[in-house]
Symmetry: C2
Subunit: 399 residues, 2 copies
């Protein structure tokens, strides 16, 4: 009887973890790797806040170390509520917010709370690869809503309506999207909300990149359907503490209280040091100036990457990302498979990227290039190396 | 279709959370509460390590903030391996260790990995209340193994054998135990291991309090059945970072790799700041001196609580705890119900405790008193107040 539960048969190592381990191996071999693969920031949290936390670590008290309420400390939930008011002019009660051990825990606990085996969930293609394994784990049937580069990755509302059945439990929408960097338009946002209300289904909106906006405006779906939206958020991107594991979900109180219970069973409470840090950050004077500075720097790197791709990889197709950290670049015109190209680039040319197949059944010739991890010089060098790889394959002819 | 999944109907708020919220309420009313309820340390981590982490926070790098491998950083797993060697002379390969977001995540992910609906799991009574809701959540059938104060809470090996069926998946053993403070004896440890091997079942050993030992020795069950034992551990008690959420599990590599995958889906990776801190702590010069100092202080407080109970509550029965943080005190001779008494003590006498019914179907007249949270003076004051309550009820006659 020393066998394992069947549910774990469904779990696979996260695909980017595989890339990480090849990167580790090459690093041990002293190979210099240009990292276009990572979805994490390169600018640490504001020094003012880090120094403050360093001071607090000297205090002889259990304040920073003790368990917190499983929903998160009140000061942080209040600070989040104020932040949502400031960013989006929306009113979210601190009791409608549950702090979680990162965005991943918000996803895991929300799906645990909503999904019965056999429920249908509409998931965009391409979109973030973290949802499929969780939906499989909880026995959901995934209904793909294909969006295209030609249409700037916006949903096709009529098509979406036709995909809804009596079994549809939720639509998942990542905006700004990973990998495409698309922002949902105002019209799409309102239409999505209307569909959710009309059909009485959940709208799970993943807003991990909501403050990394380079053009246009982020649409907070909660504005249009507060009783149907469950919003998933993270502090991994802003203020850049991915490893500290802190995020939050907000939505109708009844469902948030259940999501809280799942988190309590999973991790008892969210990490306290991170909670104390972020509560101070969100209420600090540097909150808006810090993220403004980060966005300016990332925009500069995005523009460099975009112009390098245009000049060095003339056959590559992409939509300029309005938010997030990525240029989702399609190599279909070169007749190349993304998995093959990604692997070749990493092993032979020292450039790490994430293949399109991780995000899509369609964009299997694409690569996701992150523009935030490397300096402008190294971004140029990286794209140059991609160009070199294509030349070597006899596919590129810029010279 | 906007309903929730049935699995969350099984979840209830952790019982100690209810006590916490009454405590909060009384605090807001400026009532001074003597805290015998908390299962968390009162001595913060070593100042040397806290100051070091404060220094590292000033460095302009993403090192402390980035994602880590989902199994935990290698340095920490190596430090844990060395620590187990130092403490117990056991050899545990760093790859047989998975770092988790606290002991709770180790429990949640281990049971997710092992338990199929209908599996039988043998759980002691009394023991830690965290297991029952998780076993219910995963559909296990709980088989209670009753242990008694008269027998110093040791298992009855013959009885235990008779409880094993073809459906038995695991035995869960918390040692040092919460709430009883019992250490498994060498004979019991070997017998448990033999049963697990003979019947090919898992032995889940919860060693949260393994370094808080006041007399005797902690038995590492892994020594006797390395292929059957999954050991669950936490850094909440040593080095006293309960809110930071860091723990680990070790056991056979095949099952640890699956537990890792569950953790990856739950939280992506364990909190990185805590990992960097504990890796430094375990390898520091203060590692053994710190815990020695903590144990001496807690032992002093335990002795004071024990002698106060003896003199002030002559009808109360208990076994002197050899480990953990608690005196599990039975008020049966007073003819009192533990829930009633606990509530009365909190609301009227300002003493917080945890009722025996949280841990046991049998010891419903007992209370769990923690001796680590309060100073010796306040421990005396607290027991005095319990005595006062009993006098007021006409139940105590020490004067």
């Amino acid at each position: 009887m020393k066998d394992l539960a069947k549910r774990v048969d469904l779990l696979r190592e996260s695909p980017t973890r595989k890339i990480d381990s090849i990167r580790e191996k090459l690093k041990r071999e002293n190979r210099d790797i240009i990292v276009f693969s990572a979805g994490q920031p390169s600018i640490p949290p504001p020094i003012e806040i880090r120094e403050l936390m360093g001071q607090l670590l000297k205090v002889e008290s259990m304040e920073l170390y003790g368990y917190t309420p499983s929903q998160g400390i009140y000061e942080l939930r209040q600070a989040i509520s104020e932040d949502l008011k400031r960013l989006a002019s929306i009113d979210v009660d601190p009791d409608s917010i549950v702090v979680t051990a990162g965005g991943q825990a918000a996803m895991f606990s929300t799906l645990a709370t909503l999904i019965e085996p056999g429920d249908e969930v509409i998931l965009f293609d391409p979109t973030y690869f973290g949802y499929k394994p969780l939906l499989d784990y909880y026995g959901a049937k995934i209904v793909r809503h294909y969006v295209s580069m030609e249409n700037e990755f916006q949903p096709d509302i009529e098509k979406l309506k036709s995909q809804i059945t009596s079994k549809t439990k939720a639509i998942i929408i990542v905006t700004p999207d990973n990998p495409s960097g698309r922002l949902i338009t105002h019209e799409s946002a309102k239409a999505l909300a209307e569909i959710a209300v009309d059909h009485d289904i959940w709208l799970i909106t993943d807003e991990a990149y909501k403050t990394l906006i380079y053009e246009g405006e982020h649409e907070y779906l909660y504005k249009y359907a507060p009783n149907n939206v469950i919003s998933l958020n993270t502090f991994s991107k802003d203020p850049a503490i991915p490893g500290w594991r802190l995020g939050y979900a907000y939505g109708p109180k009844e469902v948030i209280s259940k999501i809280k219970l799942v988190n309590e069973e999973m991790v008892y409470c969210p990490p306290s040091f991170a909670q104390h840090m972020v509560a101070r950050y969100l209420r600090s004077e540097v909150r808006m100036s810090y993220i403004k500075r980060v966005v300016e720097e990332y925009r500069r790197r995005r523009d460099i990457m975009v112009s390098e791709i245009r000049s060095k990889l003339p056959g590559a197709k992409f939509v300029i990302p309005k938010g997030s950290m990525f240029v989702f670049t399609d190599f279909k015109e070169y007749g190349l498979n993304g998995d093959y190209l990604s692997n070749l680039l990493l092993e032979k040319y020292g450039v790490a990227s994430v293949p399109g197949s991780y995000f899509s059944e369609v964009y299997t010739s694409a690569l996701r290039f992150s523009f935030v991890a490397e300096t402008p010089e190294r971004i140029k060098k990286g794209i140059e190396k991609v160009s070199e790889a294509l030349e070597d394959l006899g596919k590129n002819h810029t010279k």
